[in-house]
């Protein structure tokens, strides 16, 4: 049991109706903080593509126009950042990763998302399929801003938000679960907020 901090009284907590939506160690914010490693990339839409790759080969690729023609969904999700803020009821618009993978004839247990600016993050295929993940290009009724990962980011709300890779450009199919950018800097390989898997060894 943690030592009691002399004189510390808590000021606020999530309302009772929200409490079961907030994973342990998180607090709810109304803002939308920006945390990323490095400058915000800006890729012109004319040059943007999203690809499913494997062993150096492109299995399937979409231009922005082709991507916009895919069936998209509106998603409402609670999101949880490893730096402890949670934002409830965020609204997105995106293409399910299931839709993208179905067109690529995949057979691999893991993916590595790769992005403009060099960011990467690893995920099990089981966590980006079955209606759990999207490539999101819309936020809160408008186009996703560059600061928040636009033109498109991965959206995987059931894991800590560093797995929802900003400026995503594709998924590389992998046979093993190798650590991506933050995972190599000490963050957890999987990142389940409900088990507080923030750092390696949690």
């Amino acid at each position: 049991m943690s030592p009691v901090s002399r004189g510390f009284r808590h000021l606020r907590r999530a309302s009772d109706e929200d409490a079961d939506r907030v994973p342990p160690g998180q607090y709810v914010t109304d803002g939308f903080p920006v945390l990323s490693a490095g400058p915000t990339p800006h890729t012109p839409l004319g040059k943007w593509t999203f690809s499913i790759t494997q062993a150096g080969q492109t299995r399937k690729s979409w231009t922005w126009q082709e991507f916009q023609a895919l069936p998209a969904e509106t998603i409402t999700a609670d999101i949880h950042c490893v730096t402890r803020w949670s934002k409830l009821g965020t609204q997105w618009r995106g293409v399910p990763v299931d839709t993208l993978l179905d067109q690529a004839e995949y057979d691999a247990p893991y993916v590595m998302a790769f992005c403009d600016g060099g960011y990467t993050t690893n995920l099990p295929i089981a966590d980006v399929t079955g209606g759990q993940a999207w490539v999101a290009f819309g936020y809160d009724g408008g186009p996703l801003e560059a600061e928040h990962g636009g033109p498109a980011r991965l959206l995987v709300p059931h894991l800590y938000f560093w797995k929802s890779a900003k400026w995503v450009r594709g998924l590389d199919l992998r046979g093993t679960d190798e650590p991506g950018f933050w995972e190599r800097y000490g963050y957890h390989i999987y990142g389940d907020p409900w088990r507080e898997q923030r750092y390696a060894g949690d």
């Binding site: 901090s5 606020r12 914010t29 945390l35 490693a37 600061e147 933050w182 800097y185």
Partner: protein
């Protein structure tokens, strides 16, 4: 802003630029955790500098209630990306916005303690001269370190350094030119970091040589 020196009995050491987590526990078991950049250099007693946010939950406790001898629960060090070691080289371009000076101060102290001669420039943006911290320390002249300030809201009489928020024009004047192949560390509020990072990239800095640490400003401190 208050600098708090901590004496954790089992501290494994840290790298310049890293942060740590503080956890407070109330008597009813409620806990609040927050991250703070480590203000001290590797090898020095571990210290954090905390800015009191009026609507904060943890910072008012740390800056007003905490007394010498109190116990704090810590976790860390954390972070392997926004770190600098002398072997990383330079020239170093450090850009601090407000409390973003904290991890950069750790880097500067580490540079000094290791006897590194990496040429370094620090541009520190602050609202006013009263808001500038580590003033005396930064005012000491060390070989190879140039410190300049920009004050955004008010300036003391006779102020000769820069004024106004950071922008491309100011960085064109103050930053190492891209040809020097500098390594940049930018820390502060999101809007500061966004502007500064974009400006450096605009001046020709390769994005992978621009490291950023954005502070929350979520109202949850």
């Amino acid at each position: 802003m208050v600098t708090i020196e901590l004496g954790p009995p089992h501290w494994a050491g840290h790298r310049a630029g890293q942060h740590l987590e503080v956890r407070l526990t109330a008597e009813d078991g409620y806990t609040a955790e927050r991250e703070y950049s480590i203000a001290s250099a590797p090898g020095e007693p571990v210290a954090i500098t905390v800015e009191r946010l009026d609507d904060g939950e943890v910072s008012p406790y740390l800056t007003r209630e905490l007394r010498a001898g109190d116990e704090l629960e810590l976790r860390g060090p954390v972070g392997g990306y926004f770190v600098w070691e002398p072997g990383d080289g330079g020239p170093l371009m450090l850009l601090a916005g407000g409390s973003g000076i904290v991890p950069l101060r750790s880097i500067l102290r580490h540079r000094l303690r290791t006897g590194s001669d990496v040429p370094t420039r620090l541009l520190y943006s602050s609202r006013s001269w009263q808001d500038v911290i580590y003033r005396d320390e930064l005012g000491q002249h060390h070989d190879g370190v140039q410190v300049s300030y920009t004050l955004t809201r008010s300036q003391p009489a006779g102020w000769t350094d820069h004024t106004g928020r950071i922008d491309s024009a100011l960085l064109a004047e103050v930053a190492w030119p891209a040809e020097a192949n500098p390594l940049a560390y930018i820390c502060g509020p999101t809007s500061f970091v966004e502007t500064a990072a974009a400006a450096l990239v605009g001046l020709g800095y390769p994005p992978e040589r621009v490291r950023t640490e954005r502070f929350g400003g979520t109202g949850g401190h």
